[in-house]
């Protein structure tokens, strides 16, 4: 993995991947939203509100996926001191926070007409709110220290401690009584959702994933330039 640690090498690879990821994201999101709005049927119980699923569920998957990716990067940073791992974690948390926020708000907009309430302090909703706060805490710690290396370390420790929340979110619908419906796609016995809804959902989710790849590569490039600017500023300070 350390072969990719060189910033110039990383930037070269990122520049090669970015056009494909960006174009793929636009295509998958375009097709996915078209299918979700015009082709997928209304639900027999939930009516047209089921269309909220096509943004709510991919957002929630991304919020969880990004957190796990961030925790893996943080472990790599703490154990192997991989220099790009810290940069990856820093680039990821604002995107994860965005998706956690979208999960909560779109869920609320779905819950109001279907459950009759915007919010309920049950296992699923509360653990998702905690995930959002973990992202905000991670972002705050990154910027809390004058020395960026200390910020990296503190944020990495938070990311690793907070990863315990991920299985809690996933299994909260099985462990506790909740308004939230149980999983209908990621189940051991296979999806229970009809294919006319499953395909639009999977294509939209692929679009979200490619959007994340595009954005995280751009943000890592940006962060590497920021690190270089910090080094240059320091060198100038010493020289003067």
């Amino acid at each position: 993995m350390h072969r990719f640690a060189n910033p110039a090498r990383f930037t070269r690879i990122a520049d090669r991947v970015l056009p494909f990821a960006g174009f793929g994201a636009v295509a998958a999101l375009g097709i996915g939203f078209y299918l979700a709005l015009f082709v997928a049927p209304a639900d027999y119980q939930q009516g047209e509100t089921v269309r909220i699923m096509y943004v709510h569920v991919p957002s929630a998957w991304m919020a969880l996926f990004i957190y796990v990716a961030m925790a893996v990067a943080s472990a790599a940073a703490l154990i192997w001191r991989h220099p790009l791992a810290d940069v990856a974690a820093k680039a990821s948390s604002p995107i994860g926070a965005g998706f956690a926020f979208l999960t909560l708000v779109t869920g609320s907009l779905w819950g109001r007409p279907m459950w009759g309430t915007w919010w309920e302090w049950d296992g699923r909703l509360t653990s998702m709110l905690i995930l959002f706060f973990l992202y905000l805490g991670h972002m705050a710690l990154m910027h809390a220290f004058e020395d960026q290396q200390r910020g990296y370390r503190a944020a990495a420790v938070l990311a690793l401690v907070g990863v315990i929340n991920v299985p809690i979110i996933k299994f909260s619908v099985d462990w506790w009584a909740t308004l939230h419906q149980p999983a209908s796609v990621l189940r051991l016995d296979g999806p229970t959702i009809h294919s006319s809804m499953l395909w639009p959902l999977l294509i939209t989710a692929l679009g979200f994933k490619l959007y994340f790849v595009t954005l995280v590569l751009l943000r890592m490039k940006s962060e590497l330039i920021a690190a270089r600017l910090r080094a240059l500023d320091l060198a100038r300070l010493k020289a003067s």
Partner: protein, 72 residues
């Protein structure tokens, strides 16, 4: 015309479906735009600094050693 109106009404749930979709697009686009603007600004600053550094380096070499450095 009637079909279009029906579509936008979302079976009476327009007030929930459209804000959910709109907000998702807004947040995703917003993150992308802020990221791109920050990247451009940093790239410009780095280019400026490198241009300055390239023109200043020869002069710094010619300058005589400063007092503190000479005495310490």
């Amino acid at each position: 015309m009637r079909e279009i109106a029906d579509f936008f009404q979302m079976g009476g749930y327009a007030a929930f479906v459209w804000p959910a979709l709109g907000l998702t697009l807004l947040v995703m686009l917003g993150l992308l735009v802020t990221t791109l603007r920050q990247l451009r600004a940093r790239q410009r600053r780095l280019a400026d600094l490198e241009a300055q550094g390239a023109s200043r380096r020869p002069r710094r070499e010619e300058a005589p050693p400063r007092q503190e450095e000479a005495t310490s």
